[in-house]
């Protein structure tokens, strides 16, 4: 009897603690979500109303024309296209070169392998920002400074050692019997990779795509310095900075532009949440 009472008391205390946690996490989550709600609401208000309506999130009048202004007049349709082009290009290039490299590093021994691995090991933590001057000079001498291709190469040419490691880790776990059968059938080195190995690595390709997408879409330093003299090549992030410089009083237009810029990545996140979280978590597990 007394044991039962104690057990029940424990249960109550347990669920009390649980609901306290839920309350705490709810408040915390509100702080995390509120800026986005505020931004979305500001994008539909009048510039004056943003700063006079206090904490009220619902606009008096829904002003969709803010979006028209940002999209057409401020050039965000152009910036969006640039962001998409640069992101798609970078993701494809990273997938291409990292899957090939990861594959041979994981499954073959060759002269120079230790050297290649050593180079990656030494340079893995060098932040991109500290070599930007040299990257710009290189791009200028190659005639790539004011081009989409130049930005794509600068974003995906260096770094991305993590993507190589993800591929290498996955390829090293694929049993060799699969390969042996294909060799007996007369498949070439490239055919084995292209039609057996790469399809098997689908989950890694998904993870690397998502991580590279995130890094490129959100990149700022490289697109900023590459587009100083070519405003028409600006990405969304760089365009935002320029917008603030040029129309510093158009708060609602700015909020609409920011919302437009954030929407694609947020939508993608909700649909591919699993890959985003697994991709991030993979950094710790590997």
């Amino acid at each position: 009897m007394s044991q039962q009472v104690q057990h029940r008391r424990q249960l109550i205390r347990g669920s009390m603690g649980m609901w306290l946690q839920v309350l705490g996490l709810t408040i915390l989550s509100l702080f995390w979500i509120y800026p986005f709600l505020w931004l979305a609401s500001a994008s539909l208000k009048d510039s004056l109303e943003i700063f006079t309506s206090g904490l009220n999130l619902v606009p008096q009048e829904w002003r969709w024309e803010n979006y028209v202004r940002a999209w057409n007049d401020a050039g965000f349709s152009r910036y969006m296209l640039n962001s998409i082009l640069i992101t798609v290009g970078s993701v494809l290039l990273v997938l291409f070169r990292c899957s090939l490299t990861g594959y041979v590093l994981a499954r073959y021994n060759f002269i120079g392998k230790k050297f290649v691995v050593g180079i990656f090991l030494v340079t893995i933590f060098v932040p991109a920002g500290y070599t930007i001057i040299a990257v710009m000079e290189l791009s200028q001498s190659l005639g790539l400074l004011n081009t989409h291709l130049g930005i794509i190469l600068a974003l995906s040419g260096g770094g991305h050692v993590a993507a190589i490691l993800l591929y290498a880790g996955y390829f090293s776990r694929i049993p060799r019997e699969l390969e042996e059968a294909a060799v007996l059938d007369g498949a070439s080195f490239f055919q084995i990779f292209r039609s057996i190995m790469l399809p098997l690595a689908g989950p890694v390709t998904a993870t690397v795509s998502v991580l590279t997408f995130l890094g490129t879409w959100n990149s700022f330093f490289v697109p900023l310095v590459f587009t100083f003299s070519r405003p028409d090549l600006r990405t969304l992030a760089v365009g935002m900075l320029a917008f603030r410089g040029e129309h510093s009083t158009d708060w609602s237009g700015l909020a609409a532009a920011a919302t437009l810029s954030l929407i694609p990545v947020v939508i993608l996140f909700f649909f591919l949440q699993r890959y985003f979280l697994e991709g991030i978590a993979g950094a710790v597990k590997s």
Binding site: L25, I33, L105, Y108, I111, P127, A237, F276, G282, V284
Partner: protein, 323 residues
């Protein structure tokens, strides 16, 4: 998979012996596909990672404004000036202060939240996880610009909230005051990247078998015992890598600082990469050589600090073993 494990990769499967008598060239020729596969990365990585690292050293020895095709060699003058430049040292100090303050907060706070979310009985766990992770996927530069409005003294929501709840009686100029600007940026940085560290911890926590918790509960352990005697010891192997990954974020706060404050007011938020940017791109007369010297000097400083840290850790460990 760690890089060091790559060495254990196996030989090609066509049964060819590793050391053919016909020599090196044959072997290289036989492995031509391997080298072809490596080619894209070798070329691009050399161009965009290795060459820039190497040539930065050369640039750092030049007096070079970027207008002329090349600068003039002036030996170690840039380094002498960098080491005497108060702006450089204050920027270095801020960069490390940024790390010293934000890294522990992120590590501890996100661990607490991750432990709560890891409880399979917690309702709405998925919702909380999504909400706290949301800022991670957004563009830092855009968040920086938006946060300028959020912290605006004349009608930004933060100040309205503070005024309404009576916490302050005058609006705070978070970003316009040089004593609070850096800490405001740190706050936004923690907010922005909190979710990443939380997901790291959750990944680590998921390696712990839930049965262990059940068993502990049956044995009458309370939540505190479970944390100190089960969770924490099992998380230890992950703590170092999570700490490093979290620390690396703080070395790249350029996007946030440039868009939130531009390094101001009165240089009070100028971290090292903003300092380099100012010298190289934002000054009326760009000083690419000087900026490169600052970058190299900061890189060396970080390496020296890392070595000291590793040595101190090793000392502490051997001292503990001796005791």
């Amino acid at each position: 998979m760690a890089l060091s494990e790559l060495d254990s990769g196996q030989r090609a499967i066509d049964g060819r012996p590793v050391s053919t008598p016909s020599g090196l060239l044959t072997r290289l020729w036989n492995d031509r596909w391997i080298y072809l596969f490596l080619l894209p990365t070798v070329i691009l990585y050399s161009m965009y990672a290795l060459w820039p690292i190497g040539v930065s050293w050369w640039y750092s020895l030049l007096d070079w404004n970027g207008f002329g095709r090349s600068g003039t060699y002036n030996g170690l003058d840039n380094y002498r000036e960098v080491f005497r430049d108060g702006f450089f040292w204050r920027a270095v100090g801020r960069t490390f202060l940024f790390a010293v303050i934000t890294v522990p907060i992120r590590l501890i706070a996100s661990l607490i939240v991750a432990i709560m979310l890891n409880n399979p009985r917690l309702p709405f766990a998925k919702f909380f996880r999504t909400a706290l992770f949301l800022p991670v996927v957004t563009t830092t530069a855009i968040i920086g610009i938006v946060m300028q409005f959020v912290f605006d003294p004349a009608g930004g929501p933060i100040n309205i909230m503070l005024l309404k709840t009576g916490i302050v009686d005058r609006p705070m100029n978070f970003l316009g005051d040089s004593s609070s600007a850096l800490y405001t940026v740190m706050g936004v940085h923690i907010w922005k990247w909190f979710g990443v560290t939380m997901i790291y911890w959750l990944a680590a926590l998921q390696t712990i078998n839930q049965d262990l918790y059940e068993a502990a509960k049956v044995d009458g352990a309370n939540a505190r015992d479970v944390f100190w005697h089960i969770t924490l010891p099992l998380l230890k192997p992950f703590a170092l890598i999570i700490g490093i990954l979290t620390f690396i974020d703080t070395m790249e706060v350029f996007d946030l600082v440039l868009t939130m404050t531009g390094g101001g007011p009165f240089f009070s938020t100028e971290v090292i990469d903003v300092f380099i940017y100012r010298q190289a791109f934002a000054a009326t007369i760009p000083r690419l050589g000087y900026a490169s010297a600052a970058a190299v000097a900061f890189g060396l400083l970080t390496i020296v600090l890392a070595i000291i840290q590793v040595l101190a850790l090793r000392n502490a460990r051997s001292a503990r073993r001796a005791a």
